[in-house]
């Protein structure tokens, strides 16, 4: 149970959260026009006459955006609606040139589904998906370019978004964060959204309410446009406490839209949105109902990649990994791919998992890099692990070798040769070192023989030190035992 329970003065409160995620569909062109959907360009340079809502312009839907929505729906184990309808959501805003957004209302392309969320304590939780629909993104208003004017850039206007609405199944900021992490992983595995929250290709609105255990749902507030997973968690935690305090002070929650101020870590009412909305949805008469054939859905189903849950299961079964390790490795598709390459190159799945999770992630975290920028290739890491397995180097020396690989980019074998780090497994050579150590520590030998067994470790240490760590530790143990009697 990872639910956040808030102890108020009147009892224990439960937090109820549903998330609406806006995920930009990965596509070349926009949802209803042939302008580029790419991020970051000169203002109004990726705008067609359709996107600028010039008189007489008409929308024509992008096939790939439809396919991406279907693919995402299948990835979320959701119902794909054979017929869906595009509707106009009418409201006025500077970055909404048509005066309406083409969205889907009563008949979305994707219906109910489910996401299995991996919680920090290692447990999993099913979170329901209510729907997924396709819609147009709005343009962008810049408010800080001029003291009294706002500037409007329509480059994003008309870019395809998937709005993915969860059921109110989440019970804490941590759960919300875990849900978002998992959802993002699924989208990235599918290649339907790059999940880049900094560039706004994934944004989140959180509906938060509180209630006493067993009570009906409380009035919710919607926190708009939170742009990082960490902020979603913070915003929810702040908002839940605010609601509990307000209710316990005798106040009531107004259903309203709030904004998260990440600098101060608080949510604030958006007064500008206070005016009651009446979106007057109706089917867009410029478009026809979107009807999907079984063949189309089936073709896309066949093309689905192995998704995180299935991959995790396979890693546990095929590689004997723990649920935790498997979960860590599948969290990002790139990591899981990297890991599997290491397994192939090394021939040892468990060692590979340890090295990727502990050593490689340690290095990457310290350097603030992602797996894509790893200074050591999967092939190189795999080979190095192979050298541990075949006894060329010891596990301890391997850490030094790895550090050098990170620093220099050289292959393990070269580093081992250059630095003479090859493990000594020659009985004669090790015996000679042992003999020297015994000769130099006659007093300790006497003590050991009189029963001070603990000194055995001292001798091992001395031998390893004298061999500069290169002696095969297993052989050192065996030979020492024999020599010391």
């Amino acid at each position: 149970m990872s639910g956040l329970l808030i102890e108020g003065s009147t009892g224990t409160w439960e937090v109820v959260i549903g998330l609406e995620v806006h995920a930009q569909v990965t596509s070349n062109a926009k949802l209803f026009s042939g302008a580029s959907a790419e991020y970051g360009a000169e203002p109004n340079s990726q705008v067609s006459l359709v996107d600028a809502a010039m008189p007489g312009m008409l929308p024509v839907i992008n096939k790939v955006c439809v396919d991406q929505a279907i693919k995402t729906g299948l990835g979320l184990n959701a119902v794909i609606n054979r017929t869906s309808v595009f509707a106009r959501k009418n409201y006025f805003y500077a970055d909404l040139p048509q005066g309406y957004q083409i969205s889907q209302y009563e008949k979305p392309i994707v219906g109910e589904g489910v996401v299995l969320v991996d919680l920090p304590d290692g447990s999993t939780k099913e979170v329901g998906i209510e729907r997924l629909h396709l819609e147009q993104d709005a343009g962008k208003s810049l408010h800080d370019q001029h003291p009294t004017r706002s500037y409007i850039d329509l480059n994003r206007s008309g870019v395809a978004l998937m709005e993915i609405v969860s059921r109110p199944d989440l019970r804490s900021g941590d759960e919300a964060a875990a849900y978002l992490t998992k959802l993002r992983a699924i989208l990235r595995y599918l290649g339907t959204c790059d999940g880049n929250m900094e560039e706004g290709s994934m944004r989140c609105d959180a509906n938060v309410s509180v209630r006493k255990a067993g009570d009906p749902l409380g009035t919710r507030c919607e926190i708009k446009n939170v742009n990082s997973i960490r902020f979603v968690k913070q915003a929810i935690e702040y908002e839940a406490r605010r609601q509990v305090e307000l209710i316990e002070e005798g106040g009531t929650i107004n259903q309203e839209t709030r904004l998260f101020d990440s600098r101060q870590g608080v949510t604030r009412s958006m007064r500008s949105k206070e005016h009651a909305h009446d979106y007057r949805y109706f089917p867009d008469p410029d478009l026809l109902p979107l009807v999907l054939t079984e063949e189309r859905i089936e073709t896309i189903r066949q093309s689905l990649p192995e998704l995180p849950d299935a991959k995790k299961q396979r890693f546990m079964e095929a590689y004997g990994l723990s649920a935790y390790d498997a979960g860590v490795l599948v969290a990002e598709q790139e990591t899981s791919g990297f890991y599997e390459q290491v397994v192939t190159a090394s021939g040892d799945a468990k060692l590979a998992a340890n090295w990727v999770i502990t050593e490689l992630f340690g290095q990457l975290n310290a350097a603030g890099k992602s797996i894509g920028d790893s200074p050591v290739s999967a092939e190189a890491l795999g080979k190095m692990i192979g050298l541990i397995k075949d006894g060329t180097i010891s596990g301890r020396i391997a850490k030094d070798v790895f550090a050098e690989m990170v620093a220099s980019g050289k292959d393990a074998e070269i580093i081992i040769e250059e630095k003479g780090l090859r493990q000594v497994s020659d009985t004669g050579a090790i015996e000679k070192v042992i003999d020297d150590v015994i000769a130099a520590n006659q007093d300790k030998v006497a003590e050991y023989k009189s029963g001070k067994d603990k000194l055995f470790g001292f001798f091992v240490g001395q031998v390893m030190k004298a061999s500069q760590g290169k002696a095969n530790p297993g052989m050192v143990n065996d030979l020492l035992k024999a020599k010391l009697g």
Binding site: P55, G56, R88, L287
Partner: protein, 492 residues
């Protein structure tokens, strides 16, 4: 010999082909006619220089033997079609100064076929009206007068400028658009031919939207043959319009030659509306007789839900319009009236930019879509629309075409029927059902009222069967031998 402006399109094309005159000569005659007809206010924008340049280019093409289907023919273009580099107003103040950087698909097809643009014709603001009295650029006058009465008459609407221009010989033909009768009703009022094609037959791309699920482009011409010629050029699939339908465009002109013998003409019993003038009724009966004489068989059909078509239309069209017109906000084009906030800018610009009828319909549309009213009005209207379409489907199991009057009366004087919007809306009672059902409809002049004004008959057809509609229209045209001319004719 008939003056150049007295020629039909077919005759003009013939003369051009035989080198009896050039397009430059023909166009010059029309530029002059357009000037002579200025008191009608049929044109918002005249483009004589462009017309003459296009005519010269046409003559050059013809000299090389590359003439298109309408090469050298001077046209009026309803100012709802976006024309590249030429002011496009939709008859509204809100589009002040708007000069498109693009050309509508249908006008582009016309230019590709060699046609010449004389100018942009006046219309009811955003095509909302039945009398052409709501244009920001002023009312349009019909070239007709009642016998013994010199009061100016309305040309009908919304394509009133196109109708007046064609009737007054200030254009050979013109484009119109028809959302609830805006081609057929003004055609009937001015004694010309107007065809509303099947929804999806002509591209809507680049035509300023009024009600997207009903709007269709179509020709307004001197006679049925001209309509067939022009329709062949205007029709066709357009990948830029998702509601455009991809089926081959037939040879409409060739279809006129076919026989109508044995075709069944449906006479809807519910169209004998209360208070319909006797002369309209008589004209209708006369039409049935003409078709019988040509070998067609009249059958009574029932369209029980069409009595609700007009009220249904006045929910659906304003609903779509309220959304279509949201883009006119003073930000990207057209009129801007500043305000100290964005909302004030919107409210000021839209208050100043839209006329009274547009505001009224935007209010109707906003209301019927708003929370709590959607089901009772909009959804209900959509269901009735289904029933109306179903009525036609069933009727066409019994007949090939349907014959009705085009409008319940002849043209009225400017200033009449202005106090009561519903009375004005009634002008479209016979035309609106075809838009709701998406079927083609042709208005053909058939006779004169007691006052000496044109009365029209309407031939409705099955979806995408404009050929039969035109063929039957041609039979009526021949039988009627309508030769009356308006009191004003340019170029005479």
């Amino acid at each position: 010999m008939t003056s150049l402006t007295g020629l039909t399109m077919a005759a003009a094309l013939d003369g051009l082909a035989k080198k009896e005159f050039s397009s430059a000569e023909l166009t010059a005659a029309y530029v002059k006619a357009m000037e002579q007809a200025r008191h009608l206010n049929a044109y918002v924008t005249e483009t004589p220089d462009q017309a003459l340049a296009m005519a010269q280019a046409s003559d050059a093409r013809r000299a090389k033997g590359e003439a298109g289907a309408m090469d050298g023919v001077p046209l009026g273009v309803k100012d709802l079609y976006c024309t590249k580099g030429v002011l496009t107003t939709a008859g509204s103040h809100i589009l002040d100064g708007f000069t498109p950087t693009y050309e509508s698909t249908v006008t582009q097809k016309l230019w590709d076929a060699g046609a010449v643009m004389l100018g942009k014709t006046n219309l009811d603001e955003f095509a909302m009206g039945s009398a052409n009295i709501t244009s920001y650029y002023g009312k349009v006058e019909s070239p007709w007068r009642k016998a013994g009465d010199n009061r100016p008459l309305v040309p009908g609407g919304s394509s009133g400028g196109s109708a007046a221009a064609v009737a007054a010989h200030a254009a050979i033909a013109a484009t119109g658009t028809d959302t609830g009768g805006s081609i057929r009703q003004p055609a009937a009022y001015t004694g010309i031919v107007g065809l509303k094609p099947t929804y999806g037959r002509c591209s809507r791309w680049g035509i300023i939207a009024y009600a997207s699920s009903l709007d269709q482009a179509g020709p307004m011409t001197r006679d049925v043959t001209d309509a067939a010629i022009m329709m062949g050029v205007m029709a066709g699939f357009d990948a830029k319009d998702s509601t455009s339908v991809d089926i081959a465009v037939p040879d409409y002109r060739a279809a006129l030659e076919g026989s109508v013998k044995g075709l069944r003409v449906g006479i809807p019993k519910e169209y004998r509306v209360e208070g319909m003038p006797a002369e309209i009724e008589q004209q209708w009966q006369q039409g049935i007789e003409w078709l019988k004489a040509a070998g067609m068989e009249p059958v009574e059909v029932s369209l029980p839900h069409t009595q609700h078509a007009l009220a249904t239309y006045y929910i659906i069209a304003p609903a779509e319009a309220s959304s279509n017109l949201a883009r006119y906000d003073g930000v990207r084009y057209g009129l801007r009236v500043e305000g100290d906030s964005l909302d004030k800018l919107y409210e000021n610009s839209r208050a100043a930019g839209f006329g009274a009828e547009v505001k009224l319909r935007v209010l109707i549309g906003t209301y019927v879509l708003s929370a709590g009213y959607y089901d009772a009005y909009y959804l209900k209207a959509q269901k009735i629309r289904t029933l109306i379409a179903e009525d036609f489907r069933k009727a066409y199991e019994q007949c090939d075409v349907i014959l009705t009057p085009t409008s319940p009366s002849a043209a009225f004087a400017i200033g009449e029927k202005m106090d009561d919007p519903v009375a004005m809306y009634m002008q479209d009672v016979f035309t609106v059902p075809a838009n709701l059902a998406g079927i083609p409809g042709l208005a053909v002049p058939a006779g004169l009222s007691a006052d000496g004004l044109p009365l029209g008959l309407q031939v409705l057809g099955k979806a995408f069967d404009e050929e039969t509609v035109l063929k039957v229209g041609r039979v009526i045209e021949k039988a009627a031998a309508f030769s009356a001319r308006p009191s004003f004719l340019a170029g005479e």
